[in-house]
């Protein structure tokens, strides 16, 4: 059993530690520092949050998405065909993103996250997984003013984002995670979703993980097991039905077990974590389980995020002792 994160990590700590990235972004917006200086601070903070994950005992870390303003615009800004519009709520959170609007043919121009991956991998003592926002979610959370149908946009994005997956692979990423929370809100789109992901992952040799959050996969299981991924990440906090759903058919993939609530500061007890692992232990062999928080950690203050990870690791260690 290994521990990992879903992706994002809080960008700034609380007093007395300085909020360096916040200050650097503000100075960059005022034109007081250039892109190189901002990049240097992002680098420092990336190293810092990798260290915090490692300190907490995480086996497979991420770069914390420190350079990402959100999952959507980080890609949309760097591809052709998008403009960035007004603020809109991200699912049912109290977090907002600027909605990308598709106004022309979407096209991947150059690697988006590959350099970030290289940097993180070079500065991490543990393996780093690369993260990509999936074509379905990127399309669903954008406004489409160009393509004749939503499906056409999703399939085109899948083809273009495939270039990004290949670029990450070329940069050395051995695990690439595709994030697709939006499919849980429009399950009837599963055939389109499947077609898009098949297209996106065609010829990819790296280990591919598919992550969802903010709900359950009722109606998608076991079909989701046919997709070209070796691990499926599920949110068992906002989607407690997942515990029952995954019992209905063989779970012949690795499971991303999201059992620690990344949207509330209340710490789970070690016993609760052991119990949640136990609930899936007869469905998925423990060596095929990645334990992780229910979603990205940016909904928590920095210190609470690290405390969550440390508690999660303690729970997993205890579960390993108890459940063998």
């Amino acid at each position: 059993m290994l521990t990992t994160v879903v992706g994002s990590y809080p960008k700034i700590p609380n007093r007395p530690r300085p909020a360096r990235l916040r200050a650097a972004i503000a100075r960059s917006e005022r034109g007081e520092i250039g892109q190189d200086e901002l990049r240097r601070v992002e680098d420092e903070v990336t190293i810092e949050v990798i260290q915090e994950q490692v300190e907490a005992g995480i086996d497979l870390v991420s770069d914390g998405q420190i350079r990402w303003e959100d999952d959507q615009t980080y890609f949309a800004r760097r591809m052709d065909g998008f403009t960035i519009d007004g603020l809109i709520r991200y699912f049912d959170t109290n977090t907002y993103y600027r909605q990308p609007t598709v106004t022309g043919a979407v096209r991947w121009r150059q690697p988006i996250a590959a350099e970030d991956y290289r940097f993180a991998a070079a500065h991490s003592p543990r393996p780093v997984k690369a993260l990509v926002t999936g074509p379905y979610t990127l399309a669903a959370l954008s406004a489409n003013q160009h393509y004749g149908s939503f499906g056409e946009l999703v399939l085109t994005l899948a083809q273009e984002l495939r270039q990004e997956v290949l670029a990450l692979e070329k940069a050395g990423a051995s695990i690439i995670q595709v994030n697709e929370p939006a499919i849980l809100k429009q399950k009837e789109d599963f055939p389109l979703f499947g077609q898009a992901l098949e297209r996106m992952m065609e010829g990819v040799a790296a280990e591919a993980h598919l992550y969802t959050w903010f709900g359950d996969i009722e109606g998608l299981f076991p079909r989701i097991m046919e997709l070209p991924f070796s691990a499926i990440g599920l949110d068992f906090v906002m989607g407690p039905a997942n515990y029952e759903i995954i019992r209905r058919a063989p779970f012949a993939k690795k499971l991303g077990l999201g059992i620690v609530d990344a949207r509330n500061t209340k710490l789970e007890t070690v016993e609760q974590i052991v119990e949640r692992v136990r609930r899936v232990s007869d469905v998925v062999p423990l060596e095929s389980v990645y334990v992780n928080p229910s979603c990205g950690l940016e909904y928590l203050p920095r210190e609470a995020a690290q405390a969550k990870l440390a508690r999660m690791v303690a729970g997993v260690r205890r579960a390993q002792e108890v459940l063998g």
């Binding site: 909020a19 007004g86 907002y96 993103y97 500061t265 920095r302």
Partner: protein, 326 residues
Amino acid sequence: MSEGLLTTTVGSFPKPDYLAQARNQFSLGKIGREELMALERQATAEVIDLQEEVGLDILVHGEMERGDMVAYFAELLNESMAISGLVRSYGNRYYRKPIIIGKLHWQGPMTVEMWRYAQSLTAKPVKGMLTGPYTMVEWSFDEHYESRREAVLDMARVIHQEAVELEKAGARYIQVDEPAASTRPEEMELVAQGLAVVTEGLKAKTITHMCYGDFARVFDQIARLPVDQLDIETANSDYDLLELFRRHRFDKEVALGVLDVHDHRVETVEEVKEGIRKGLEVLPPERLYIDPDCGLKTRTWEEAAAKLRVMVQAVREVRHELGIEG
């Protein structure tokens, strides 16, 4: 002549520069609470003066003493709430997210003194302003309660006590804001239960403000919310919510948002009159109040003043055209 189309605002006003600076100095420990409070009162008096000068009918105190509508109350409920730390809301913006750490209970008046001060400066009614229980809970972490419902209902008892205190002090209008209600329309029943506890037994006119959301499928529940007046954002969504009032029975008063508070541009009198006329197509003037979409705190003082002047002018013209008294 009939009466109607009373004008008001949603609650917050922009903080003058000297107050923004003083709040910053206070947070760094460079000035004391007394000094900050004196400046909050000075700014409140300016907010009242501005509303009098513009000619609004029902005033607000402007929330000069509040930074964030949830954290303000959380800090005063310090036996059961704390501030957890900074959480990003978007871009480079962060807020200090409160956390429920114990059983919620009212510890003493939180808003009465400032309301009383503001009301002492004007003969017009000043609204008492509270944050609703659903929003208080939704925008906080919760380390104490087993369920959201329990937390919301206990918070509702706290806010109810505060409403009672405001009423005792003389408030004739009490507004209980629930901007978080649009986050999960499926929880509108819980929003309603919380508001029912807050408004129980109050004689003051009760109002709730909600931000734009997918209200169509829960409109029946919204129509039954236990308040006298529903304050809604409409200008920034081209008044499409009004269609719901056309299709469903609705007996409450409505405060119609006719100014887009997220836009720097000052509306024209004609645009605002058009919005008012749309409101009058579905509601009689005596049940229709006119106000901005949302709080004005994100606008500059000058933008806020200019927008309100246009709004009042538009209302005067429509009243004149229809023979309505203010």
